[in-house]
């Protein structure tokens, strides 16, 4: 067991524990801050996977942007903080069963499939190659995503503005 493996297990533990806090905590704001640690752990795993640009993007966009938005949403809707966690028992048990079945299926597939035997390649900087891919092979999705972002921007401003009464 080398150092990268230990880093993986530490980050995986951090991600799963704080992910469980996100789901099971009673307080929305606390869940938001736990989500911060989950996203940070996933960003660290990106770095471990030699995806340097992806790791930085994860920190900038998720931790810096989406999480702030979620916390703003939690605080602007004041009822949110006191809405209790549990639904009536009727819907909790089926969701637990569905989740356990899904987890068992995914883990069974991941464990039983024969994945590519080739080991990982040497890590190399990815930013230049990613930019090249975005401007050649993935040019159309890249442009479509930029239009989607513009539409989302306008739509969010339109939906969230105060109605003149």
């Amino acid at each position: 067991v080398g150092v990268p493996d230990l880093v993986f297990y530490a980050l995986a533990l951090l991600g799963v524990v704080s992910g469980a806090i996100v789901v099971f905590s009673r307080n929305v704001v606390r869940a938001g801050f736990a989500l911060l640690f989950t996203l940070f752990a996933v960003g660290g795993l990106y770095a471990l996977l030699a995806a340097d640009f992806l790791a930085v993007t994860q920190l900038l966009l998720y931790v810096g942007g989406i999480l702030i938005l979620l916390l703003f949403g939690a605080m602007l809707t004041q009822n949110a903080v006191r809405v209790d966690l549990r639904v009536k028992g009727l819907s909790t048990l089926p969701s637990i069963l569905i989740c356990l079945a899904t987890l068992a299926l995914l883990v069974a597939v991941a464990a039983s499939t024969q994945w590519w035997p080739a080991g990982p390649k040497d890590p190399a900087p990815t930013t230049r190659a990613l930019g090249h891919l975005f401007l050649t092979e993935f040019l159309l999705p890249f442009e479509v995503v930029s239009v989607v972002l513009l539409a989302a921007l306008i739509g969010a401003v339109y939906l969230a503005r105060q109605e003149p009464r």
Binding site: G19, V22, V42, I66, L70, V87, L106, W116, L133, L149
Partner: protein, 102 residues
């Protein structure tokens, strides 16, 4: 045991399951959104892991980047909708939203 592709797949399966549980069982719309973010993160982590361990070059990371960008758009729109719902219903309990005109 050396960490390989299967380890990443199992980890993201766990994160995915946590997210699905949040979406299925939470009443608070913000918590449901947090569950969706967990699901999207699990998917993006899978793409990055395949990009590292399979012979696909960097294309997996490209998909992860698209997922992150679309998650940002989704979070912005969804929170705007949640704010609108809060203004209409004074509550963001997803079980109580059952009318189109508040």
């Amino acid at each position: 045991m050396t960490v390989g592709l299967a380890h990443y797949l199992v980890l993201s399966a766990i994160l995915f399951t946590l997210g699905v549980f949040a979406v299925l069982s939470q009443k608070n719309a913000i918590r449901v959104l947090m569950g969706i973010e967990l699901i999207l993160n699990a998917a993006a982590l899978n793409f990055a892991a395949f990009s590292r361990y399979a012979e696909t070059g960097l294309r997996g990371q490209v998909f992860s980047l698209f997922i992150i960008v679309l998650a940002a758009a989704e979070a912005a729109i969804a929170l705007a909708i949640v704010l609108g719902i809060y203004r209409a219903f004074r509550d963001i309990d997803v079980d109580e939203m059952d009318s189109l005109r508040g």
